[in-house]
Symmetry: D2
């Protein structure tokens, strides 16, 4: 079972078309990734701004399938997969919970790639054990 993050859509996520701004789907998925890491024991304050090693997002792709409005409840599944000793991918599915009289629907599919680099010179590094274990355990 993939890790699943539950979230309510906020007013600040929306734009003047009345729905979630497309780039904010990526932020919501990154929140889900953070929660998955925290659930696995990671210290987020260090994880994302440690001076030694960084694991930035190197690619993203997203299919925006259905609009989301303020107050919608979503579930985001998080499935990491290993790509190489220094990189991994995560597949996310954003599901919009049932509204009155309507079933739950897939609202977006998102994929991110992450590469581990040394902060000092941005050369590729093997993933730290903790993150490599998290990727392979899923």
């Amino acid at each position: 079972m993939p890790f699943t993050y539950h979230r309510t859509i906020h007013f600040s996520d929306t734009d003047a078309a009345g729905v979630v701004y497309f780039a904010n789907y990526l932020s919501i998925c990154h929140e889900a990734y953070e929660e998955a890491l925290a659930a696995a024991g990671a210290d987020l304050a260090r994880f994302f701004s440690d001076g030694g090693v960084l694991i930035p997002v190197s690619q993203s792709s997203a299919d925006y399938l259905r609009p989301l409005v303020c107050g919608d409840k979503v579930a985001v599944s998080v499935k990491p997969s290993a790509l190489a000793p220094d990189s991994f991918a995560i597949d996310y599915e954003v599901t919009r919970f049932a509204r009155a009289g309507a079933p739950s629907k897939l609202a977006a599919k998102v994929r991110t790639r992450h590469v581990c680099i040394r902060a000092a010179d941005r050369t590729r590094q093997p993933l730290p054990d903790a993150i490599a274990n998290w990727v392979s355990a899923r």
Copy 2:
């Protein structure tokens, strides 16, 4: 007891100084306001973009007391108070939960004012009953 909203600080809330960007404290408080309204039965999708009546924020003030980092847990208390038939204020306190070995701390105090207007011509209107009741019940 005021309504209290619980939230984890996300990476997207932070800036290059390593802490939550000052304007994002206001967004976090607005999320708390949305959750308080939803808990009182409001339909958020209609509440914030209804064609008839709008209740925009007309003023805000904030004291930023302590920094927040990615992964911090916060509680935001929401205390509305009536100002006039067409307006109310909300006082928020953002408390940072205890980190290892350190007590909980007040991280910010925020106040917003809200004014009810007719969307068509932006003239002031009495608050809808539902929101007036929510304000006076607290």
Copy 3:
């Protein structure tokens, strides 16, 4: 020559890793798209929230090649291409201007797809002439 948008990186674009948050590259590209439309004569206030027809982003993909820091100057090129009577794509290249002693560098490549739908029922519609002309003229 593609339309090119010039932009300075702001503090609010960055995250605790000290660089632009990955999802914000997409926002910066969308700004470039808005500026390209405005330069072609579009009324943005109507374009993005007109009640009749919407043209949401249906897909995005991005390669994040180099980090951007607060104060960096970037140029974003905007190249639309027709896909079908109801859809088009845009390719963006985000170039980081030379810093002291270093040449300009490609910082990201982004692609978005856009589909025209009727707001009332979200069925696909041919692109309005103005946007179809903008796409084909580039």
Copy 4:
């Protein structure tokens, strides 16, 4: 004459009420502050994330007077004033440029306070000369 920053309202600045989200007025003012510092010769990448000294926003207040929509042009004036050896304030006025047939209008008044602290222990420090000079020259 105060420093003035010119800006177009972007789609990402807006919310589902069709206008700029209230917290984003503060971000727009902070952009103006950054541009004022850059015009005075500051290196922004260092200014906002230098390890030695930080100058965070300690207070903000805002009066939101008129809504702004996507495509609106605004001018933001930036007036710093000294408060103490370790702090200063900035007053901003956000003016919405004339739309067809309508005059320019004041859209918001914003004030921020900034305090200089040592990053290591967050104790107050005198402002660096460069910033103290910028404050007093205005």
